[in-house]
Point group: C2
Chain length 362, copies 2
C-alpha cells in the first residue's frame, strides 16, 4: 500500500501526521522580500537549494530574479541539471575519481558550473580532470570566522588562485565565504585585502560570494561582495525567528503533529519525533515551537515521539487527538526526511512536490 | 543520472562518501547473541524494525528465533506485511479515521496484529473501528519510569483493560512498557501489581512486554516479562558501546566519510554532516567516533560538513582525501536518511538492500 498524498483542494486538517506543510503565500513573500532586498543593494542572489531540494521552488526563485542556484553535492546538482537549471554553483570541495568524473560530465552539459576549492589537494584533483576544451570555474573558499572550510588568509587565496590560473582546465572565478553570524566587517576586510593581493598579480576576481540566512539582511554591510547565497530564508524556521530575520507571519513551514498520549496532566506526547523534526537544536534547549500553546515545551524526542511539558502553558492545553502545528528549529533537515512536500494556501492543499534531490547520496 | 550502487564484490573503499555500511558478520553475531540470551532466559524476542527498516534483516531475526516483529507506524507495518511478515506489533497509539481505516485493512490480511493503547480516547477509536468478526489485539502501555507514553499506575491498566474486554472488536492481550534505563526493579513490581489486579477481575494477561537495547542484557532481571523488544542491538552504535551493551567489535554500522578540507593543522572537515549522521547526541557532547584516530572529536555538524578538532589526536591525523569510518552516536536515525543500505564482509560488498520502510509517512 502507498500513502494517499492529498489532492489539490484537500484541507490540511485531513492530512495524516506527522507531516510538514508549506504555506504558498508565505513562501512567495519570503522569496520576493529577499530578492528585493538584494536587488536594492545591487547584489546578485544565488539561493541554496539544500533547504527545499525541489526544482519547482528553485524556478520561483529564478523567476523572482535569482541569477542561478547553489547546491552542496554533485548529485543534487545533477537533479537540478536534469530539471533544466543551467547555472549551478556547488559550494563543496569535490574529491575522488568517482565524483570528479560525474562533475566533468555535469560541466559538459550545463551552461555555467562552478565549484569551490580550499586546498592544493582539491585543486590538483580538479586540474587533473578538466581541460581547456571545457574548463571548470573555481571559487576559492575563505574562512572569515565561520570555522568550517576555507583558507585562513588572503595570502593563501593568492597561492591557490595562482595554481588555478596555471591549470589549463580551470578558470579562476573569484572567492567565496560562509561567514560567522555578525561577521560582516571581517568578511569585507578579507575580500578587500584578497582583491588587492590578486590585483597586484593581475588576477581578476569578478565574483565575491558571501552567504547565510541568519545575517541575510546585513548583506549590504559587505559592499565588496557581489553575490549572496542563502537557503533557509525560503521557508524560515524557529532559528530565523530568533535571529530576527523573520516574523512569525513569515514561517512558511509547519510540521503537523497529533497528540497521541497524555499520560499526566503536565505531559503530552506528539507523533513528531526525531524522524520528523530531527534533533537539531541550533542553540535552543527544546525541539520546536508549538503554535497556539504558549509555554508548552518539547523537552525530548525519541524517534516517533515528542514529549511536551505542559506545566508552563499560559492558556489552553492540547488534548489527545488534537492536531498541532510545530515550527521546527531547523527547516532544511526536516525537508531531508520527507520524499514529498505538501503545499497549501489558507489550509487548502495546492500541490504536492517531490523532494527531488533528497536521498541523492553524494 | 542515478547513483551507481556498488555491485557485490566491490571494495567498500571504492564507495562514494558519505555512506553507511553494515558488516555482515557483526550483524549476524549481534542477532545470534541477543536471541541466545533471551532464549536462555525463556523470553520471547520481538525485534523492533525501526533500526533497519529492511525486510531481509527482519527475516534473519526471525530465522534466529524471534517470534515476530515490532513496528512503530502503520505504514511501516504495511511494508513488512507486503514482505510476508505475519506477526506484527505496532507500539503506538493509533488515532484518527485515516490511520484506523488502514489499521483495519492490515488486521484483515495478516495472522497476528497487535497495537498498544494508553488512554480511553485511543481505545474508543479502536473499539469503534474493529468488530467481533476480526478483532484487534491490544496491549495497554505502561509508564514504568521512561516518562514517555503509558498509564501511570496498575489501577489505570485495569480500567483500560476493562474497556478493552468490554469492546466486541478488541482483545486484551497484555501489557507493555518501554522502561527507563536501569528500571528493571520498577518494571517487575509494576507488572506483578498489575497482574494481581487483573487476576482479581478474572482478566488474563498472557503477554508482558518490556523492551530497549540499552538494558538488553538485564532483561532477565524482569522475570515477569514474557517478551522483550529491541532495535538498536542489531547494528549497535556509540551509545550502545557507552552503555556496555556491546564492544567495539560488535559495531556493525560505520559511516564512511572523506576528509574534504583541512583549513588548519587542528581542524579537519568530513563530508558526513547532519544529513548523514543526524544531530542526535544521546548524551554525548560530540557527533560520533572516528575509528583509528583516537582523540579526534567531531565538534560540530552542519548539513553536509562535520568539523573535527584534531588537537587531542593521540597518534596520526587524517589528511585531505582520506576516507575514515565514523561510528554514529545513534544508528536508527542514520538508517532513516538513506534509501538503500550497503552491506559488506571484510570490506567487500555483499549486497545492497532497500531501506523499504524509510519515508513511509504515517
Amino acid at each position: 500500500m502507498t500513502y494517499p498524498w492529498p489532492d489539490e483542494g484537500t484541507p490540511i486538517d485531513a492530512i495524516s501526521t506527522p507531516m510538514p506543510v508549506i504555506d504558498e503565500d508565505r513562501l512567495a513573500a519570503n522569496i520576493l522580500r529577499a530578492q528585493s532586498y538584494l536587488d536594492g543593494h545591487g547584489k546578485a542572489f544565488r539561493p541554496h537549494i539544500k533547504t527545499h531540494k525541489i526544482p519547482a521552488i528553485a524556478r520561483q526563485q529564478l523567476q523572482a530574479g535569482a541569477i542561478g542556484i547553489n547546491c552542496q553535492k554533485v548529485s543534487e546538482a545533477e537533479v537540478f541539471a536534469d530539471a533544466g537549471f543551467d547555472d549551478i554553483l556547488i559550494t563543496y570541495n569535490i574529491l575522488g575519481a568517482a565524483k570528479l568524473s560525474r562533475l566533468k560530465a555535469l560541466n559538459a552539459r550545463i551552461g555555467q558550473l562552478s565549484v569551490v576549492a580550499d586546498s592544493a589537494a582539491t585543486i590538483a584533483g580538479l586540474a587533473g580532470t578538466f581541460n581547456a576544451e571545457r574548463p571548470l570555474s573555481i571559487l576559492v573558499e575563505c574562512d572569515t570566522g565561520g570555522k568550517r572550510c576555507g583558507v585562513q588568509a588572503p595570502e593563501a587565496v593568492l597561492e591557490l588562485a595562482e595554481k588555478i590560473v596555471a591549470a589549463p582546465g580551470l578558470h579562476f572565478k573569484g572567492i567565496l565565504t560562509y561567514p560567522a553570524p555578525g561577521g560582516a566587517e571581517k568578511v569585507e576586510s578579507f575580500i578587500r585585502e584578497t582583491m588587492a593581493l590578486l590585483a597586484e598579480k593581475g588576477i581578476d576576481c569578478p565574483v565575491r560570494s558571501s552567504g547565510g540566512s541568519p545575517d541575510f539582511f546585513s548583506a549590504h554591510l559587505v559592499p565588496s561582495a557581489t553575490e549572496h547565497r542563502a537557503g533557509t530564508y525560503v521557508y524560515n524556521d524557529r532559528s530565523m525567528l530568533r535571529a530576527g530575520h523573520c516574523t512569525a507571519g513569515d514561517l512558511a513551514m509547519h510540521v503537523l503533529a497529533t497528540v497521541v498520549s497524555k499520560p499526566t496532566a503536565d505531559r503530552a506526547v506528539l507523533d513528531s519525533g526525531s524522524k520528523a523534526l530531527t534533533s537539531d537544536l541550533l542553540g535552543f534547549s527544546d525541539y520546536g515551537l508549538i503554535e497556539g500553546y504558549e509555554g508548552a515545551k518539547i523537552i525530548s524526542l525519541s524517534e516517533e515521539h515528542a514529549v511536551v511539558d505542559l506545566s508552563g502553558c499560559v492558556s489552553g492545553r492540547p488534548e489527545i487527538g488534537d492536531v498541532v502545528k510545530v515550527v521546527p528549529n531547523h527547516t532544511c533537515v526536516v525537508s531531508n526526511l520527507f520524499d514529498r512536500m505538501v503545499f497549501h494556501r489558507n489550509g487548502i492543499v495546492t500541490r504536492v512536490e517531490d523532494v527531488a534531490a533528497r536521498g541523492t547520496v553524494w
